[in-house]
């Protein structure tokens, strides 16, 4: 059975920045035929995240406790407007898990 991935877009409030990230991730999974549940979360609830992937901005990195980053693949990006960076980092992840 095809795996359903869980992806969390994380930011400070779970409103603006993470919503931008979620849009880019949704475009990616749709165009690649990947089955994924893409949600947003704020940093206050980071400890409860158990997703396959947590995608967030570089400046959020030091807010993520190691107990969380040990369980999920954390993808850090700097540009949420141009999709290239998010796309290539998701490419990297999905090519590594499909091997």
């Amino acid at each position: 059975m095809k795996k359903r991935y869980s992806i969390t877009a994380l930011c400070g409030m779970g409103l603006g920045t993470s919503s931008l990230a979620r849009m880019a991730i949704m475009d990616y999974v749709k165009s690649h035929g990947i089955d994924a549940n893409v949600t947003v979360a704020d940093i206050g609830s980071v400890k409860g995240i158990t997703s396959d992937i947590i995608l967030t901005t570089k400046s959020m990195a030091n807010h993520i406790p190691s107990s969380v980053s040990e369980q999920s693949t954390v993808i850090l990006v700097t540009n949420l407007i141009k999709k290239d960076e998010i796309n290539s980092k998701l490419d990297e992840y999905f090519s590594s898990v499909s091997e």
Binding site: G12, L15, T17, S19, M23, N79, K82
Partner: protein, 147 residues
Amino acid sequence: MLENWLNKDCISLNVDAQDYRQAIQIGGDLLVANGKAEKTFVTAMIDAVADLGPYMVVAPGIAIPHARPESGAKAVGLSLVTLNSPVNFGNLENDPVWLVACLCALDSESHIELLQRFANLLADDEAVKKIKNASDAEEVIELISRY
């Protein structure tokens, strides 16, 4: 379409700001003057950078400050400020910032269409260049109405 959320009175071009706090204050004051947010919302946007970090600098030169709806948001809306001299937010990759777009949201859903359309605009290099060079809010309205 974007003009539904970003009206002429919420645009201020080629403004002088000393630092990111002042830049957000200017953008936030536009939201307050247009009845879209309480003053507390402006303070919360500034505090968010100090407390949570400069993650709202979403691309080189571009910041989208925002705060939680309960901090005093009254409507879904956007303000747009361009700076004469860019300011640093403390974001190593994307500083300095010349475009500050303060965002008001009422919940987790109702601003998504606005954000989607605004992201499409910001992904268009030509459009961004026009905003950077614009001196009249009407020019910006004409441009954003295509998104």
